[in-house]
Structures are given as C-alpha cells and as structure tokens.
Subunit: 325 residues, 4 copies
C-alpha cells in the first residue's frame, strides 16, 4: 500500500493547563509569533514559517499532546492515508484553524497523527528583525517520541518513506533513531521508554547565539528551572541544542546547525551507545529526567493513551553520558 507522501513535520497541538502561563512562556519568553488566538487556544509559528502555525496551545485539564501533524504533498495523499491506516477520520477544512481538509489517524505506535495538504499563508516575518525576540525560533524542525520498541517505530516510519540519518545502537539493540522526509537530519526521532509519549518538539533557529540567548533570558527572569539540559552540541545531528520545559512540563528543544540529507543515497551515521559524545558531543552528563520524563499523548477521541512498558534495555543504563569522568 502506498503511504501518503509526507513533506515534513508541520505542527503539534499541546494541551496546557493555564493558557496565560503558557503564553508567557511560548510567546513572551521564547518569542513565537501569534498567528491567531481564541479564548482557549493560541496558534503560534516561527519567523520563517510560511504556513499558519507550528504549534497549537489549547487549554485543558491535564498536560498532553493531542496530535502531531505532517504536511503531505497533495490532496490525494489524504486518500492514501485513509487506505494506509486502520483507524482514520477525515476532518473538513478549518477544523483546525488555518489548515485544509485533513485525515487524522491512530498510528501503530499509539500516536494521534494528522495529515493535511493545504494551509493558509500568514504574513512573512523572516525579515522582521524588528519584532524578533527570545529564541528567535525560525520553524518547527522535528518531533521526538518515546516508544517502548524503537525498532518497531523505525520499521513503521521506514514503511512511511522516511530516510534514516543517524542511530544509537549496539550489536543487539537499536536505542534511538533519527528519520527524515525534509532534507534535514530528522522530522521524527525515537527515544526508548514507556510509550507512546511525546519526548519533545524541536524548533530550529539560525545560529548558536539564539540557543545561548534564551538561557540568558530565563536566567534574567529567575526562571532558569525551565532549562533542563544543555546548552550543548549533539553528537547525533551535530546540532547545537538546549532542552527547555514549559510550565506544564512539555519539553522543547532549541536546535540549530544540522545538515543537508537530501541526496538519495544519504549515508546513515551509526553511533555506538557507549560513545559518551553521542548525546552530548562535549561529554556532558545527561540529566536523568531527560531520559524518563515525557508528555502523555491523547488518542483521536481525546482520551489519554495507555502506556506500554519499555521493552528493551534503557539507553541510560548502557550509554556513558559523561558519567565516565
């Protein structure tokens, strides 16, 4: 069965428990642009994003990831999605503000995923340096999801047509994998653990200075507890990064300077799980919460997905992660 032709990771909807507080974090501090707002939801985008949003924040009773959305190439890919998945629901244009007709599915990993082909184009902000602030986020870059069986996730996304840029592995186990449709290191990556959960949303910025700046701002506000891990340089992807936690504990990554993966024979880079540089190229320790905490996901009806226990050796018990010093 031919899968839908996915263009890229496009947006996520996060449930937050205090929209005002979430707005403070995502808009005032991080600097995402507000495309549209409703009493119970915000539609946000990065400065380079030319579609309606990269992130929806919606008020709810418990923190969760409602869905992950991929843009597909054309309308016929919606029909392909309906054939490819067992459980699907077609939602009309505008069900999500700024987004055309879409198909929502329960994917085999337990995530609610949306495919859409059309989206509204808001004003270009790329060259509005006068309004930039915070982390100066350019666009959504990727989803990182927690799955109990990384190989199963890899197989599923391979079937969906994703390429494999990098892995963390040893002879027995695939601990993590980075897979792409657009020509970057990834649109989706897998972290092993109880799942399905959302590990983090990755947002792209143009330069390392913006990774540092958002930390400086959080320190200035004495809100440095929102900085969970980093800044650092990844081994995997070679990107500069910092991981932040929003007021509901949702994790995001500010991510910059990965590389082009568009060649048809793009070679996979395989990291040994024992290499302490794989997660932090400078060998810095990974805080334990980064491996264990993640965001609950909702099924297509909005109910929390049940967790399946992690089915392989945890990477953090195998990988060195700076503890070798």
């Amino acid at each position: 069965m031919e899968p839908p032709d996915i263009v890229r990771s496009a947006y996520a909807e996060l449930i937050v428990t205090d929209l005002d507080r979430a707005r403070w974090f995502w808009v005032d501090v991080l600097g995402l642009a507000v495309t549209e707002e409703e009493p119970e939801a915000l539609y946000l985008r990065g400065y380079d994003e030319l579609t309606h949003h990269n992130l929806i924040l919606r008020n709810g009773s418990a923190p969760a990831a409602a869905r992950l959305a991929f843009r597909v190439r054309a309308d016929e890919d919606l029909a392909r999605a309906e054939q490819f998945y067992a459980t699907t629901r077609r939602v009309p244009k505008g069900t999500t503000k700024g987004i055309g007709e879409a198909v929502r599915v329960a994917d085999p990993l337990g995530f609610t995923v949306e495919f859409f082909a059309a989206a509204d184009h808001p004003d270009r902000l790329q060259q509005r340096y006068d309004v930039r602030k915070g982390a100066e986020i350019a666009r959504l870059d990727h989803f990182n999801i927690v799955v109990p069986d990384v190989r199963k996730a890899y197989d599923y996304y391979t079937e969906l047509g994703f390429g494999l840029s990098e892995t963390i592995e040893d002879d027995q186990t695939l601990y993590a994998a980075w897979m792409y449709r657009k020509q970057t290191v990834h649109d989706v990556a897998f972290t092993g653990g109880d799942g399905p959960r959302l590990h983090h949303l990755g947002f792209f910025t143009h330069e390392s200075q913006q990774v540092l700046r958002v930390c400086d701002i959080l320190g200035s506000l004495h809100e440095e507890r929102h900085i969970e891990r980093g800044p650092g340089r990844h081994g995997v992807s070679n990107a500069m990064y910092v991981y932040l936690r929003d007021p509901d504990g949702h994790r995001l990554e500010i991510y910059t300077s990965d590389y082009y993966t568009g060649d048809p024979d793009h070679p996979t880079l395989r990291w040994d799980v024992h290499d302490p540089r794989r997660r932090d190229f400078w060998g810095n320790q990974i805080v334990p919460s980064w491996y264990t905490e993640a965001t609950m996901v909702l099924d297509p009806d909005g109910a929390p997905q049940k967790l399946i226990k992690h089915q392989q050796t945890p990477e953090k018990t195998v990988g060195a992660d700076g503890f070798s010093r």
Copy 2:
C-alpha cells in the same frame, strides 16, 4: 518530455591558470578539504559534503568555468537527460574522479552542464572541528549564472522542474531570479548581462561568524583585494554573504542562513528592483564590478563560448543599490 529529476547543484569545474596559487586560495585560506589531487587538478569539498567533491580546480591557459554539475536522483535520469537535450554526450564512470556515469549537455543557455547519479563517499568531516579552518565551508549551495535574457533562463529552468523562490523585477522586466531543487532558496540564480558566463559559486557555512572570519583572514594576509563585496545581509534570500574573487578572478560567495523552501506551494517573494534592500538589506552600495565581471564558460569541447549581448535594461541602471543616500 520528462526532464531528469535533479536533486541539487553538486559541483563545478573551474579552469585556473596557476594551480599552486589557486590551492593557496581555496585550500589554505578558504579551508576547503582536499579529497584527491592530481598534478593538474584538485578535488575539493566542504566539511558537510558527503560526496567526492564540490569543486574541481584544473590548470589551464585561461580562467574559465568548464562545467556545472547537477546530481540527479537515479540512473534513468541520465537517459532522460539524453532525451531532454539536443546535444549530449555520455561519459563513463570515473571520467570525472569520484563521479559515476554521467551525461554532459550543452544547455539552451550556452552552459556545459553535467548530470550524474552516483558518486563516491569520502570520509565524513562534519565533526572534525579539529581540522576546520578558513571560512569553514560546509557544502556547495548554488550556481549563479549571467544570462542575456533572464526570463528565458527562468522558463528553461522551470521546464527542468525548478521552483522559484525569489525575483527582482518591475512591471516590464525580470531582472534576476532564484530557483531551487533542494529545499533551500536556490540551486541556480540568474544575473542579467552578457552571457553565458558564470557569475559565482555559492558556498554554504553554518553561521555568520564564518563570513566575517574569512574577511579577517584575508585582511591579516594583506590579501583584502580578494574581498569584492560585503559582508552584508541579502534582501533576497535573507542570507549573510560576502563575495570573494580568487586569484583568477573567479567569484565565490560565502553564504549562510537562508531558509526552507520544501513545501509544495512555497510562495515566491518578489522584490521591486527599486528597493535598495533587495541586493543588500542594509542598503550598502554594490561595487560596479559585481554587476559587470564574470567568468567565461567553455562549451562541451572545451572551447570558450561566445557571448550574447545583454538583451534587457541592466539592473544596475535601474536599481537603487545604496546610491540613494
């Protein structure tokens, strides 16, 4: 007729008149990595490049651009190229070191263009920060070519399947256009003038600091005459740039921080030729040589191509380019 499925601009071959002097410039100063060398040629790549080379420098009697090469998706695209073009020549694997079987054509604009699907993979240098130097070039980004009729070039590349990211125009005239296959602002751009000539090769770096650094190095060596224009921020593409001239006068651009263009409905950004920010977002003057000087190109037999006179109003006589101050 279906065109070859072009993946990206891949490499160029430049004829230089003193290979030692060219090596000094491209390798010692700019820091391109040497994949392979022969008595009369150097094969160079950026640190992120995962194929054999981005640039061949070959000793010859007069400065010229011997050919521009695009990577195509698969072997069958070589046959497509043979059907698409009037004049073609298939060259066996290894005719160009590190490159598989290829088809060379005389394109309708007068350039010698090569298409190839396979290439050797050299060592990854992406994370060899210990050997980086100079401008720390990551990869080739684009070709900028001088053509007497920009609209004709635009039409031809549209037929080849290129998308249009940005233009400089007014009601009557298309002065310049930026077109892409990979998901960046361009693989090829057109500058109006006597053509066919090669205006410049664009090389990508990851951060603005590298644009500044290469200038500092040239100043240190009292070789600042190699800096022709910039550093600056482009209006078109939003990239930071500097234009350099090599010892033979070949122009290159160090280019960083443009944007993703991979969405199927990516909107074109059209700049008014009268906007002084279009070529330099800071309104700095464009030195006249940048508009008028360029590299002669060779036909598939290695003979210099005859120039066709510029057939439209020169942009420099229309555009403001900082002279409005």
Copy 3:
C-alpha cells in the same frame, strides 16, 4: 600644572530637533535604556553602565553637540580642572540630572568639556537579558572629534595624561590618533577636518552579532539610510564596527572587541596612511560623507562654535581606502 585625573569618557549631550523622533532611534531601535526623562530631554545609558547616563538628548533648534563629559577620579580634580583651563565654570550638583558638582570648560580645541567626579547609580541592567533589544549597547566607549590640526589635539590630550594607542600617519603628517585613559583603545580619537566638530560617539557592545543585528533591524524598518558605513572590521583598534546616523545626522558607532591597553609601557601601533586596511581591515571603501560630515559643537554658552579650516592634507586624498582595487 597638574591636569584633572580623568577616568574615562562618560557622556555627551546632543541637541536634537525632534525628541520623539530621536527617542524612536536611540531607544526603540538602538535599545538604549532610559534612566530618566523630561519633556525636553532624555537621559540614556547602556546595559552595563552603572552611572546615570551615557547620553543626553535635548530638544533644540539645530543639531549640535552641547558638551562632552569626562568622569574624573575625585572632587579635587574639579579644582585641578579650574586651574588647568583658562575659561571654566563650576556648576552645582544636579545641574545635570544624576551628575554631581562639575566644572565646564572651553578646551583649547574649541569643545565644551565637562568634568565631574560623582554620579548617581541607577539599577544594574547587565543581566536583564529579558529587556535587551536593538544593538544591546553596553556603555559609551569613546568620543571621536574633528579637529583642523591633529597634532595639536594629540599634544593637548597628551598633556591631559592620555595614552596613545594607535595612529594613522606618514612621514610628514599625523592624520588621526587614538588616545585613552581607561584601559581600552580610546576615550577620544581625532579625525582631521574643519573643526571643532563631533565626528561620532562610540558605543561598546559585547559581540559582533550585535553590530550585525542593528543593521538587520534598520533594514527591516526600511530605515537602512541610517547605516552610513560598515559593518566592518577596523584596522585601527581591531574592533568590529558599524557607523549609523541618527535622524538629525549625529553619527554613532557600534563598536566591539578592541583590546586591553592598561600596561604602563603599552606600545603604540602606527598605521601607514597608505595601508587600505587602516580604516577597514577588509579594504572596503569609506563613503565620502564619513570623512566630511560631522556635528557642530556649542560653546559653554550654547552658541555654535566657529569652524577653523582643516590645516593639513585630508586623509581621504592620501589614504587608499579600498579605491586601489
């Protein structure tokens, strides 16, 4: 006669013809912090400045520099100033908001100069990254003044106890000189021309990115005409720079990364006027206005100072300034 013990260049008062427009430029765009405001004046400082202000903008009928102020070590230096200068006036504490008792003088070069020992300390903003914007100016760095006779200015400031960090010269002529009290390249520099006039105020930032950013912001606002020269790297001082013009034509420099000059035997660096790197290390052309335009200065009574004609060969007719290409 012992001169006052000058600590550093401290602040300037500029007369502007439209305070709202000046506020837009200096506060909204450049990002200087407002310490205090009055209907007809603004008191501004950089984020690192720990005294009341680095700049006073005052409404007036014609653009001018009302005075340049140096901080001195102690109260007794006010008496020393009174003895050192022919024409002096003691003004009580608070005559200038935030500034203690002061002595104002007409200096031998025709500038109105103020000396003060005490100043109010406003809130520290150094680690308020959350409020930074624009060029993120840290502090005032230096005054650059236009004088008809550079050697006379050099002699006078030598007598005042300033050290000489760099010069532009040839066998006959001293074209420019950089002199310091604090441990940086300069507190004052001299440009040859009709004088006395104020050439520019130099403001320090911490990194090169801030020099680039202010240009990006001006481009975004289509106010790029305020960018006069640069960005570039100076030969003299090794600093990254850009020169801007405010709405009244007052020139300022955003300046970063010069060097320590605090050793008692700090050696002077002498640049040959023919070295095209002296003013721009990358050999870029200097726009003619940079050499010829400057701000009128007021005498201690607030009347415009008469200009004395330039008394030596203009540097711009001798120096190469990129025109050698």
Copy 4:
C-alpha cells in the same frame, strides 16, 4: 606600608609532568602562541598579549603551580614589595625569560607570588587571524585560588589595593570574592577549600563562539574528558565560560564578556549563596570536582606547600547549584 602598585595578573608558571603532552593541549588544541621554548619549558601567550608570556609550562615530577606573577607599575614597586612582605627574594632580569628584574615573595596565603615591572614585547598577533586556532585566547585574565579562609584572603588583597567587584555570601560567611586591579571583574578570585591551591587560570577570549569552539574541537578529538564544567554563563561576572582540565589536571577557564570596573566608586555586586544562578546563570549543576579539586602550589624554594584545612562551611553544601530542580 605602601603596597606595590599592581597593574594586573600577568602570568603563571605551571609544572607539568609531560611537556609534549602539555604542548599538545595548550598549543595544538587551545592555540596559545609559543613565544619561546626550551627543552624543559614553554613560554606561551594569547593573541592580544603584548608582553613575553601569560603562561610558563615547565617539566617536573609532579603537577604544581610554581608561582603567580603580577605586573607592577614601575621599578620602585619592587622595593615596595620587599618592604611589604616578610619573606622576599629579588631575582635579576632574565631569571624568567622575557621578564625584567623581579621580586618573589611568600604571600600570607601561602602562594609564591612574583612582582615585575619590565617585560619584553614580542610580535603583535592581534590581527593575525590567519594563525589563530583553538580557543583563540586573547590574554590571561585572572587567577582563581583556593583558600581555607576567604575573608582573610579578601582582607589581604584589599590591603594590596584590589577592588571588590562581586561576592558570594550569606549573613555569616564570605564564600567567594572577585577582586581587580585592571578594569575588569577580576585579577584574582577566591574559592573556599583546603589551601593554598590554585583553582584555575582564567583566559580571556573575545566572543562566546570561542568558548563553544574549543569544546567542539575536544569532542572531535574524543578528548572531551578535558571539559569539566560548562559551557555556561556565570551569574558572577556575567561572563560566558567553560572550565577545562589539562593533561595534568590543571584547571583553566575560557572566559569572555565580563564588564568594565574602572570607576573609582565601582559598586560591588553581592550574590546570595542560595541563588542557584550565582555560579551558573542558567542554573546548571556544578560538578563536584569543580569544588574539590585544585592544583598544589610550591613555596619559593620549589617545595610543595602544606595544606591548611578549609575553615568555613563549604559553599557546595550551602549553595543550590542547580540541585533544586
């Protein structure tokens, strides 16, 4: 008794157990320039340093800090040093290569300290961007020493004429202090612990990118174990930093973007020991080794100094240091 008029921290001599390995680290990786070398010693400086050296590495049997050297204003300060200290030794010009006549003392804290007024001037490297590499160190910035009684160290350095820029304290205890002669945050700082020991040498670079780059290089070489703490932003000093350990365990800091302290009434910034931002403005954990490990110091005769036990509550048991998350 008038103390010697100290200009700044100038150089240190470290004993290393394998000079080749030390050269690899300090010269090949960090990029310090070699002013002079002997079979058993290297004399190194930063690119901005205009005197002979900032660091001597000397082969020996056990890692140690042989002495810390301050430059003084004039020859008469050598005599002042002889009067100020109980135990002194005058050493003739050239005893240390490149350094004039000097006085070496055993200071009240147990360190061997040298005062000198004259030094040789090597070639200027400030604008030799063509030879820069590694961390592109500009100059020595400060000494950080471990002392059992921080207040005693503060009192002694106050008597020596040092200013106090910042502290870490609570109502009972002074945990750490930063003191300066040159116009930066410090020439010397105190860390509480068993002492006398050398905590680290601080080296200044011009931009944050250089802090990141040296880490990237160490990762590239799989020598990331030399990175002990950071990169990060200090609360105290507001500087970007990373702490490295050389092959003998000597600690150094790459340090950039602190601030001007030259005003006579420069106000002290006092950090509460409970503020988790004081040591890392982003709230990142401080690795325990950073608080406990340091370099043994030698007495003027070259014998190891005996340690005095820490005489106050350790800061690490009081301060939050990111453990509050």
